[in-house]
């Protein structure tokens, strides 16, 4: 790899980042605060680095500590002024153009209950439904970390842990080490255009920063009191930073494609007679499978599976898919049973996947009953990783 250099190698980071065309890296900022650095670098990327895109390939081979990942997302999230409840429900799948998925923010859901809360700092723990991050290595698609905000009914502690109490207006820090959102604006939902900044700290020495623009207002789809828009194929540009002592010592431009959605409104309670399992998997080549399965609590009736395949341009199409739970079961501490493996198949699409659950310990109650919220790895016709939400039917009934 002539002309490239190793960006980082730490004792807990067994990885090598080889960059070509290193001359395209942006100057290291000397600004005092990380926020200023971030904004400055984004501005630099927008103003001066465009000519360097697309960047040269990055070879990425690393294993990162799960404990150090930190993600932040900044953008404008609008809520209807008069809505008794509201939610931000966004998910995105971000891949570096140079390789496989480097990270995927699965979902951030925030619910505002009861009276209108004007300041996010007034939100309480029960308003946060779920957030999760899946970080996935480029080279081998190994799962590196996942962070799930599992909300426990200890309001005071949780609010402190979420930094809610200290949050400023239009700023919500969901978790102590995982997700932040700011610029939550209570305004008509027609306000869609915004620039979103995305930052993932993979480790103490490696960070990805990206920015993408949603230009205009995509078509809004509504179900009940819940509305949502989605855009795909967005180009995000930013930097891969090497850090030392939390200071940027080197930055290289990177580019990614983004799918992004934003929803708001009332999220109805689900799970009465039917539960919905969801599975989202990156299967390489910047493609993603989004699957949901319905099962009746009574055990009667059919299971139905809906699956869509998102291509690298963010275009989605429905496919026929068979979901089959493996026979081997995992027992959560609650006594609920979950399959340890799932198979997915579609002869027409050439899909034959084995889905392996990565972490059997994580069971949570998101308000819709107990469920297993776990990262998964897939093998078979495609290699990749994803995230499973598998709802327990035994012992849970809303």
């Amino acid at each position: 790899m002539t002309g490239c250099r190793v960006l980082s190698s730490k004792k807990w980071l067994v990885g090598v980042f080889l960059l070509q065309a290193c001359s395209s890296e942006s100057p290291v900022s000397s600004l005092s605060s990380p926020e200023e650095q971030w904004l400055s670098n984004i501005a630099a990327a927008t103003d001066t680095v465009d000519s360097s895109y697309p960047p040269n390939p990055i070879e990425f081979s690393t294993q990162l500590s799960a404990k150090t990942s930190r993600f932040s997302l900044r953008g404008i999230f609008t809520f209807p002024n008069a809505a008794p409840t509201g939610s931000v429900d966004q998910n995105q799948n971000l891949s570096l153009v140079q390789g496989g998925v480097i990270a995927s923010l699965d979902r951030v859901s925030i619910r505002q209950g009861g009276d209108i809360v004007e300041k996010p700092s007034q939100w309480s723990y029960e308003h946060v439904l779920r957030s999760s991050i899946l970080v996935d290595a480029v080279a081998n698609s190994a799962l590196l970390s996942d962070q799930i905000v599992s909300i426990e009914p200890t309001s005071t502690v949780q609010r402190a842990a979420l930094n809610l109490a200290g949050a400023t207006d239009n700023q919500l820090w969901v978790a102590n080490n995982s997700v932040s959102i700011d610029s939550i604006v209570f305004s008509p939902p027609e306000r869609c255009s915004a620039s979103y900044q995305w930052q993932l700290e993979l480790s103490a020495t490696l960070r990805v920063r990206l920015e993408f623009l949603v230009d205009g207002c995509p078509q809004v789809q509504s179900v009940g009191g819940y509305s949502r828009w989605q855009v795909g194929g967005l180009i995000a540009k930013g930097f891969l930073d090497e850090l030392e002592n939390f200071e940027v010592v080197s930055s290289s431009p990177v580019e990614a494609k983004v799918w992004f959605s934003h929803g708001w409104g009332e999220v109805p309670s689900v799970g009465g007679a039917v539960v919905l399992d969801t599975l989202s998997i990156d299967i390489g080549q910047q493609r993603r499978l989004d699957i949901s399965r319905s099962r009746r609590r009574s055990g009667r009736g059919p299971e139905t599976v809906s699956a869509s395949l998102l291509d690298q341009d963010g275009m989605s199409r429905t496919i026929e898919l068979i979901w089959k739970d493996g026979d081997e079961r995992l027992a959560a501490t609650s006594g609920n049973q979950y399959p340890s493996q799932i198979t997915l198949s579609s002869a027409e699409e050439g899909i034959d996947l084995r889905v392996q659950i990565m972490n059997r310990a994580i069971e949570s109650d998101t308000g819709f009953g107990n469920s297993l919220n776990v990262p998964v790895v897939v093998s078979g016709s495609h290699a990749g990783a994803g995230f499973l939400n598998y709802v327990a039917i035994n012992n849970t009934s809303p």
Binding site: S227, G271, G272, A273, S294, P302, P398
Partner: protein
């Protein structure tokens, strides 16, 4: 999901709505099957010719079938038009559905659905094709009504009676209903939803079409019959008759406003005698007893009367009256012996045209007179058969053409996009699809050929898995036959088209 739920709820009212009933003038005794309809007097020579041995059409025994010829009129039970409209839009002739609380959660909050005026307050905010009723548990549920298939938003206005040729039955009908079950809460809601979901799951494989816009009404009816006992109308989870094919034959939805002229409701001349009773088959999804049927029968004649009172929409674009008058002469000379005459002294012959004469796709005939016989027998032995008769013939009824300009695509299977193509068979596309998804834009109407804008394609479903493609190579989808306009000159054809705008 809202659209999926709508489609799902819609399917349940298809059974009796697949063609229009008529208001007639002759009272029939409650007798058996209709050999009396075999009146071929007055039929032209070509139409009177019996099925030949060389015909591809089999000869079936006459006991339970009709033969070709003029279909006699029957005196219908009287009904009140206004009460009929009210019943159509408020009553529980479909007695199962989604709990209202759940259904309203699925409606778009910021985009009010198209409603219909003049019904009770409970239905406020509901789309025109849904009724809100109370079930036996006292729970408010939303059920579909006949307007799902028999009304269309045309250039911004809801036209009751215009068949919806843009509905999508290509998806698995069970999915959206199953998923709606995630929203139900409590025993009453769960019970109501589960009844509906179970029935939908039963019929779902038999109503999944391969193409958007075509209607699975025939197959739906057969699937429901297969699960019911003729003697008491009770439901059986296990099929009691062979189930219909999952390769669903397509049907076009004819307009209701023609019912005042038609003595037989359906394409093959079946659906005779009391039309109100036949229409009650719309309740076949969940009405499980004679007692329930008797309740519906109290207002069914009113609904029939309302349907018979409908008038077609006027052609909204300019008409060349001189050319139209020329076209009338050509029409009367060429078309009227089957399709009738119009104007002050109108007449409709109600002819069942033999299949070897009309030569359109034979799939419906082959099935109805072959593997479909058990369903015919079931109907005639059931509560419905007490006053009405299912007696298909080996051909297709030539329909009246009132408002034909609005009813594209044409033929019983909707295989021909325009009247121009219908009158010149060599121009019919082998593969095509609609260029629009609804009829909101007047620009989408082809004033020259009378039909909706469409795209002619080079290949069919064999090379592209696109549910929007109408592929005439598929079984039941053929655009063959009805070549009666081929001999016309271009000027004559244009004149006939101009005249048809005035009907």
């Amino acid at each position: 999901m809202y659209k999926l739920i709508i489609t799902l709820l819609c399917v349940v009212t298809l059974t009796a709505c697949r063609d229009e009933p008529s208001a007639q003038s002759e009272q029939l005794p409650e007798a058996e099957v209709d050999a009396r309809a075999d009146d071929q007097s007055g039929f032209s020579q070509i139409l009177d010719s019996p099925l030949s041995e060389s015909s591809s059409v089999k000869k079936w025994p006459n006991a339970r079938f009709s033969s070709s010829g003029v279909i006699p009129e029957y005196l219908q039970r009287e009904g009140d038009v206004e009460l009929g409209r009210k019943a159509l839009l408020e009553e529980a002739y479909v007695s199962c559905g989604i709990p209202e609380r759940v259904f309203r959660q699925l409606l778009p909050a910021d985009n009010a659905p198209l409603g219909v005026d003049g019904r009770h307050e409970r239905a406020e905010g509901l789309p025109y094709n849904f009724n809100v009723v109370t079930n036996d548990d006292g729970l408010s549920i939303v059920t579909s009504n006949c307007l799902t298939c028999h009304a269309t938003k045309l250039f911004g206005e809801l036209v009751v009676g215009l068949g919806n040729e843009f509905l999508d039955f290509t998806a698995d009908a069970s999915k959206p209903v199953e998923r709606a079950g995630a929203l139900v809460q409590g025993d009453a809601e769960i019970a109501a939803w589960e009844l509906y979901a179970d029935r939908i799951n039963t019929i779902a494989p038999y109503i999944k079409t391969s193409t958007v816009g075509v209607n699975p009404a025939n197959n739906l009816t057969f699937a429901l019959i297969a699960h019911r006992r003729a003697n008491d109308n009770t439901w059986s989870n296990q099929p009691l008759l062979p189930l219909p094919p999952t390769d669903v034959p397509p049907v076009s939805v004819p307009p209701w406003w023609r019912m005042a002229k038609k003595p037989a409701m359906f394409n093959l001349g079946e659906g005779r005698r009391d039309h109100a009773r036949i229409m009650m088959a719309a309740s076949m999804l969940c009405t499980d007893s004679f007692a329930e049927l008797e309740e519906i029968d109290q207002y069914a004649p009113d609904i029939r009367a309302f349907i018979a009172s409908l008038e077609p929409p006027e052609y909204p674009f300019p008409v060349d009256t001189v050319l139209a008058n020329t076209g009338r002469e050509v029409f009367d000379r060429t078309c009227s012996q089957c399709h009738g005459s119009y104007g002050d002294e109108h007449a409709y012959p109600a002819r069942l045209v033999p299949l070897d004469v009309v030569q359109t796709d034979s799939t419906l005939v082959d099935f109805a007179l072959g593997d479909g016989v058990p369903y015919i027998d079931w109907f005639n032995q059931s509560y419905y058969g007490q006053l009405s008769t299912a007696a298909p013939g080996a051909g297709y009824v030539a329909p009246p053409l009132d408002g034909v300009w609005a009813t594209a695509p044409f033929l019983h299977n909707g295989s021909v996009p325009t009247i121009g193509m219908l009158l010149e068979s060599t121009t019919r596309p082998r593969y095509w699809k609609h260029a629009v998804s609804d009829l909101s834009d007047p620009e989408s109407y082809d004033q020259q050929h009378l039909g909706w804008q469409h795209d002619v394609l080079d290949s069919g479903k064999a090379s592209a898995a696109d549910v929007a493609i109408y592929d005439t190579d598929l079984p039941g989808y053929a655009n063959s036959g009805h070549r009666f306009g081929d001999h016309l000159g271009d000027d004559e054809r244009a004149a006939v088209i101009e005249y048809l705008k005035t009907l």
